[in-house]
C-alpha cells in the first residue's frame, strides 16, 4: 500500500482534508498589513458583530461551538457569558500569547503573518463582554512578532478599529501590547494575570475565577490567540459554516503544528478530527528511511502517543478517549533514533526549571524527577527508580496548584507505559543505547561533516 494509492482511492487529497482559514493568505505579499487583511475580508466579521446586541453576539459564538485553542478546550462563548454584566466594574480581555508549551508553535507564526485577525477578534470580544481595555500578553522572546503587533495595533488605531467610537458604534477600546519576560508559567491564566499586574508569575487559587475577579480583581476573560483570531471568520462566514467542519462536539478548523523527524514540518490548518496518519501521508511522512516511534498530540504536557495512535481523530474527544489531550495540537514526532529517556529527561528538566516554586508537590517533585532521570539516562539508575518515578509523578499529578504539575507528570506516566523496557535497558545496560548523532536534522546528510554532528554531545 503506497501512500499515493491511498490518497487517490479514498479521495482524501490535501485539498479536501485541509481548510486554511487563518493561514489562507499567509503566502500573499505583506500578509501582516491592514491592506492585505482587508483585501481578504478583514474586519468584515467586526461589522457584522457590531450590528448585533452584545448578548446575542455571545450566544452566537457559544452556538458556533468554538472551543479554546490554548489547550483546555473550554467553550469560548461560555467564558464570555460568565462575565457579570451591569456590575459597575471595568471588564478586561486578556489575550494569552505566551506560547511556550514545548512543541507548540502556532500562535507565533499566526501573529507574525496575520496579526490583524487577532486584533479584529479582540474588538469583537470586547464589544461582547463590554470591555474597553484589552491586553495582549506576548511572551518576550519573540521580538519579530512584537514588532508586527506594535505596527498592526498602530494601523488599527489609525483606521478607527481601535480607539473611540469604533466604526461609529459607540464602542471605545484601548489595546495594550505587553511583552513578558521569560517564564513558561505565565501561560497559566492566573499566573499570567499576576504577571500582568507586575508580580512574579505565580498561579492564583481558584475560586474566584478570572471571570469574577481577574485582572485588578475585575471580571476578566483570558483567551488564547488562536481562539480569539478564529472569531472574525465565524462572524463573517457564519456559525453553520464553522460547524460544517470538525465534529459535533469539536467543530471548526484549527492549526496543527507538525515538527520533528518528519519530511515536511510546518503548519497545517484543517478541520478538527484529522489524524496524524492523514497529515503524514499528505506531507511525505516521517523522514526518509525512518519510522515513527513516539509523538505528542498537543505539546509535552499531553501524554505521548505511539505508532498505534496514528488513526486517533485529533479532536478534543478523540484524543481524550485515547488517553491523552488535544492540547495545543503540537504534533512533535520522534523517530526510532530518539531515546525516549533522553526526551523525557529533557522535558522534565524544563518543568523543574519552570516550576514557579509556589507549591511543594511541583517544586520538589520535579526536582527529584530530574535527579532520578539523569541517573537513569547516565546508566546509574536502579530498577526501583522506575516505580519511584511513577510514585513521584503520582504525587505531583492532581495535587499541584496548577496544570504545570500535571503536565510534568504526563511524559513520565506515558513513557513508562509505552517504553518501560527502554528505561530498563538503560539500567541493565548501564548506559544509553542510542547515538544522539543519528537523531539530528543532518544525520542522514551525506555531505555533512560527521565530526561536527558528534562533537561534544556526550559531555
Amino acid at each position: 500500500m503506497t501512500l499515493a494509492a491511498e490518497i487517490d482511492h479514498n479521495g482524501t487529497s490535501p485539498e479536501k482534508l485541509l481548510a486554511p482559514v487563518l493561514s489562507a493568505f499567509w503566502d500573499q505579499p505583506d500578509s501582516w498589513t491592514l491592506d492585505t487583511y482587508r483585501r481578504h475580508e478583514g474586519y468584515e466579521g467586526l461589522r457584522k458583530a457590531l450590528a448585533m446586541a452584545p448578548d446575542d453576539l455571545i450566544a452566537y459564538v457559544k452556538d458556533s461551538g468554538l472551543r479554546g485553542r490554548g489547550g483546555a478546550g473550554f467553550p469560548t462563548g461560555m467564558k464570555w457569558q460568565f462575565i457579570p454584566q451591569g456590575d459597575g466594574k471595568p471588564h478586561y480581555l486578556v489575550v494569552n500569547a505566551d506560547e511556550s508549551e514545548p512543541g507548540t508553535c502556532k500562535d507565533i507564526p499566526l501573529l507574525f503573518a496575520n496579526p490583524h485577525s487577532l486584533i479584529e477578534g479582540i474588538v469583537i470580544a470586547c464589544y461582547a463582554i463590554r470591555s474597553s481595555h484589552a491586553f495582549i500578553y506576548l511572551r518576550g522572546e519573540v521580538v519579530p512578532v512584537l514588532r508586527r503587533l506594535h505596527e498592526a495595533v498602530r494601523e488599527a488605531y489609525e483606521a478607527g478599529y481601535l480607539g473611540t467610537n469604533i466604526l461609529g458604534s459607540g464602542l471605545d477600546l484601548e489595546l495594550t501590547v505587553h511583552a513578558g519576560a521569560g517564564a513558561y508559567i505565565c501561560g497559566e491564566e492566573t499566573a499570567l494575570l499576576d504577571s500582568l499586574e507586575g508580580r512574579r508569575g505565580q498561579p492564583r487559587l481558584r475560586p474566584p475565577f478570572p471571570a469574577v475577579a481577574g485582572l485588578y480583581a475585575c471580571p476578566t476573560v483570558v483567551n488564547n490567540v488562536e481562539s480569539i483570531a478564529s472569531v472574525p471568520a465565524i462572524l463573517n462566514k457564519g456559525k453553520d459554516w464553522f460547524k460544517s467542519m470538525g465534529s459535533e462536539k469539536s467543530p471548526g478548523f484549527t492549526l496543527y503544528s507538525l515538527s520533528g523527524h518528519v519530511t515536511s514540518p510546518g503548519q497545517y490548518e484543517a478541520p478538527l478530527g484529522i489524524t496524524l496518519r492523514q497529515l503524514l501521508d499528505m506531507s511525505g511522512g516521517i523522514r526518509a528511511g525512518h519510522r515513527l516511534k513516539f509523538w505528542t498530540p498537543g505539546g509535552s504536557s499531553t501524554p505521548m502517543f505511539t505508532e498505534e495512535h496514528l488513526d486517533v481523530p485529533l479532536d478534543y474527544e478523540g484524543v481524550g478517549a485515547a488517553g491523552s489531550m488535544l492540547g495545543t495540537k503540537a504534533l512533535q514526532c520522534f523517530d526510532e533514533t530518539t531515546c525516549v529517556v533522553r526526551a523525557v529527561t529533557r522535558w522534565t528538566e524544563f518543568y523543574a526549571h519552570e516550576s514557579c516554586g509556589k507549591c511543594t508537590p511541583c517544586r520538589e517533585g520535579t526536582y527529584w524527577l530530574v535527579q532520578l532521570l539523569r541517573d537513569i539516562e547516565a546508566g546509574q539508575g536502579e530498577m526501583a527508580d522506575l516505580d519511584k518515578l511513577n510514585d513521584i509523578a503520582d504525587n505531583i499529578n492532581g495535587k499541584s496548584f496548577c496544570a504545570l504539575g500535571d503536565g510534568a507528570a504526563s511524559p513520565i506516566f506515558s513513557s513508562l507505559k509505552y517504553f518501560r523496557e527502554e528505561y530498563e535497558q538503560h539500567i541493565t545496560g548501564k548506559g544509553c543505547p542510542f547515538d544522539p548523532a543519528r537523531s539530528t536534522a543532518w544525520a542522514d546528510d551525506k555531505n555533512t561533516d560527521g565530526k561536527n554532528a558528534h562533537r561534544g554531545v556526550n559531555a
Binding site: C105, G266, Q267, T440, D445
Partner: protein, 285 residues
C-alpha cells in the same frame, strides 16, 4: 557601585545603589511616564520598566531596580523579587548579543545539543557566560515556539531557523566581527539594549524593520501550499544566510527509499558503544 564592594562580604548591608546621572534619569522618567500611561494599574508597568532599564545598561542593575521601585512606589525588595523571577532579565553586565540555543527536547534531539556544545567550545564560554570581548553571551534556552524550524537559535530574540553547528558557528563569528547579521525571521540584529527598548513597548523605528524577511516562514506555509494543490519541496529548508557554508544539501531520496512512515519497516537504532548518550546537564543553578 564597584565590583569589589559586591564581591567581598563583610556582613554589612549593601549601600544604596548609585542613582542614574541626571540626564539619564530625565530621559528614563519621560519614557516611564509613557509606559505607565498604558496601564490602569501602575504596578503593571514593572515588567516593561525592567526591560527599559535593561535598554539603558544592558542588564538590570541595582540602580535600575531602585529606579523602578521609586517610579512605582514599591520597595526594592518587591522589584528584586520580580526581576529575579523572569529569565529575560540579566542580573549582571552581559554581551551585546544574547545567543540562545534551544535545547528543549525537540530542538535538542534535532541537533540543538550539538549546536550548543559546538558554540561553547568555539567561543570558550559556558552556559550564561560572555566572551571576553563582551560581544556574545551564550545560553541555552527553552522552547521558543518555532519547532517546525528546528533546530532554532535566537540572537537578541530574532529567529535563526534550521541551524547546524556550522551555520551557528558562522553566525557568532559574524556577530563578533561586527558584520551585519540578518535572521531568517525578524529584523537585522540590533544591540541587546536596542532590543530591550522594543520589549519595553517602544516600537522599532528603523526603516524596514517591520517588513524585514517578509511574510510567514517557509514551514508556516506548507499546509497552505498542499491545500492549494502545490507540491512540497522534499527537503528541509536550510537557513539562507549569506556567507555560510551550505551544510545541509537537499536530500534526494533514492527510489528504494520510502517516503512514508508506514510502509518502511526499519530496525530500531543499534547500540553504538562509541556514543553512549549522557544528559547534557549544564544548568548552573
Amino acid at each position: 557601585m564597584t565590583t569589589s564592594r559586591q564581591d567581598v562580604s563583610l556582613g554589612m548591608p549593601q549601600l544604596p545603589a548609585t542613582p542614574y546621572p541626571a540626564e539619564v534619569r530625565a530621559r528614563l522618567d519621560a519614557d516611564a511616564k509613557e509606559v505607565l500611561a498604558r496601564y490602569p494599574g501602575s504596578r503593571s508597568a514593572l515588567l516593561p520598566l525592567l526591560h527599559l532599564v535593561q535598554s539603558e545598561e544592558g542588564y538590570v542593575s541595582r540602580t535600575g531596580m531602585a529606579f523602578c521601585a521609586e517610579t512605582l512606589d514599591l520597595t526594592t525588595a518587591e522589584v528584586t523579587a520580580v526581576a529575579t523571577f523572569y529569565s529575560m532579565y540579566r542580573r549582571r553586565p552581559s554581551g551585546d548579543y544574547q545567543v540562545g540555543v534551544c535545547t528543549n527536547t525537540l530542538c535538542a534531539v534535532m541537533g540543538g545539543d550539538a549546536i550548543f556544545d559546538t558554540l561553547k567550545e568555539h567561543l570558550g564560554v559556558g552556559n550564561n557566560e560572555t566572551t571576553e570581548d563582551g560581544k556574545v553571551t551564550l545560553e541555552h534556552i527553552e522552547c521558543n515556539a518555532a519547532c517546525d524550524f528546528a533546530p532554532v537559535v535566537m540572537v537578541n530574540w530574532e529567529f535563526f531557523d534550521n541551524q547546524t553547528p556550522q551555520s551557528a558557528t558562522q553566525l557568532v563569528d559574524d556577530l563578533i566581527a561586527g558584520r551585519t547579521v540578518e535572521p531568517t525571521r525578524g529584523a537585522p540584529i540590533c544591540s541587546y539594549k536596542e532590543t530591550a527598548r522594543i520589549l519595553a513597548g517602544f516600537p522599532d523605528e528603523r526603516p524596514g524593520a517591520v517588513e524585514a524577511t517578509g511574510g510567514a516562514g517557509p514551514a508556516s506555509l506548507v499546509g497552505l501550499k498542499l491545500a492549494k494543490g502545490e507540491a512540497l519541496p522534499q527537503a528541509r529548508v536550510v537557513s539562507p544566510r549569506d556567507g555560510q557554508p551550505k551544510s545541509a544539501q537537499p536530500h534526494d531520496p533514492s527510489p528504494s527509499e520510502h517516503l512514508s512512515s508506514h510502509d518502511a519497516p526499519q530496525q530500531t537504532s543499534a547500540s553504538d558503544p562509541e556514543h553512549p548518550a549522557g544528559p547534557a546537564a549544564e544548568e548552573g543553578e
